[in-house]
Amino acid sequence: ELTHKLEGVLKRLRGQGKISEQNIADALKEVRLALLEADVNYKVVKQFTEAVKTKALGREVLTSITPGQQFVKIVFDELRNLMGEGASEISFASVPPTVILLAGLQGSGKTTVAAKLARRFKQKGKKGILIAGDVYRPAAIEQLKTLAKAVPVEIYYEKENRGVVEIVERGLEIARKRVLDCAIIDTAGRLHIDDSMMDEIREIKQRVNPNETILVADGMTGQDAVSVASKFSDSLGIDGVILTKMDGDERGGAALSIKAVSGAPIRYIGVGEKLDALEVFHPDRMASRILG
């Protein structure tokens, strides 16, 4: 794995005296390869390796007795810098309800995440409501109803109405009247390049003014993570990210790409299909996973 490879690359050169810039370049090749194989976007990889190179060319590595270890430390530090400080959960507004708007591509895990968040907040003693904002997908409301029952948590839906914005506003009206702590809005999957659907979610956001807009992204997303995250970030604005399906063997480089282009903190990761399978995101654990 990468740490070994890097130590190998730089150890082999120890007998040759000082570490040269070429040696650093070779080590950087290994880092680039590892990050690309982990699905980090190639432009993000470029920026990252440039940043590491600048630091590595400093005196610390070039004259260190253990240049391999020094280099690895720089890589990890730089990755931790990019990924963010510590855990960063959704924080509740001082005036209820805390309104959370979920957005993302088709099949990324939004509906499941909506119920997982409701369950997590319930365990913290919060009273919540789920709002069924997906009026398009066959049985989407049924799916959210079934999950809501499993938590159990309240749900607001309208079977016959196709006006998403009104549905969401009516659901929030209920949340406010009943002084609920949180309202979680599930929305339809949409492409970032679908103008009318992006207009829809922008309109929801404008009317409803959520405390938190969350991009729900599939953890096994490849290079496309950059296009998706930057478009959602520019067009809609994201306060946080939830990365799903991280219970497989994907390295999850999308985490780095998304953080790099949107600046939004990754708050949680989905680690399974059950409603308790939601974990707080830890940047340093993710860094090790990505680097392999």
Binding site: L36, G109, Y136, R137, P138, T146, G222, D247, D249
Partner: protein, 274 residues
Amino acid sequence: KILRTGDDSQILEDIEELLIGADVGVETAQEIVKAIEKHGKLDEAGIRQAIEDEVVSILESTQGEPLSLRAKPHVIMVVGVNGTGKTTTIAKLANNFVSQGYEVLLGACDTFRAAAIDQLEIWAKRVGADMVRHKPGADAASVAYDALSAAVARDIDVVILDTAGRLQTKKNLMEELAKITRVSSKVVEGAPHDVLLVLDATTGQNALSQARAFSEACRVNGIVVAKLDGTAKGGIVVAIARRFKIPIVYIGTGEALEDLAPFDARVFAQGLLR
């Protein structure tokens, strides 16, 4: 995308990056660039054409011709990880067969996910296909058994089995797929005649692990790449074609019934390089 002009090596480096940016993967991208180096000196247009031709040849090297009806009932099983577009793809396939005049029956073998059966039922009604279902939580293989038995009894032409999404690392869930195929072959000889793996075009290198594991569990003989109407290029299928020789049969280009197209290697290769 305009490549930087300059010498050959810069152009090749840019093309390699373009391929990597399309999820082809570093190893496969390097192999492709290496393969065209033997062409000798080419200008940029020549290089691009050679790359395109190389990608086409990799994609066309996969064997097999799934999706012609070879039995009655002809049984198609659809598999893949969570949320890739299996159920929607089944609706599209069913729609194609029904509009060609065939009797189609859908087997609701996703007995796990919330409202999975309701979702398939809505599609079955819209498309005009029969459906066999059990209660949520029922054994998936027993739904397959009943679906195939019903198909035989009702003189159905095509059966399409919907299965629950599952990550390939979950051994018990992969074993369930093997069980569904075993049970199917007991009811209809040779069933399932086609096993289609639905991949999400936005998926990166993990799709290789998916292709490997699903093939081992249940003899995948065709791939559908869904969600190619987004910005993802789906280049990972080039790496998959190179390594596993599974033919790509269809692409999904949207959420409506008509958004399914037969895979065209040339069109796909051109899309990668755009």
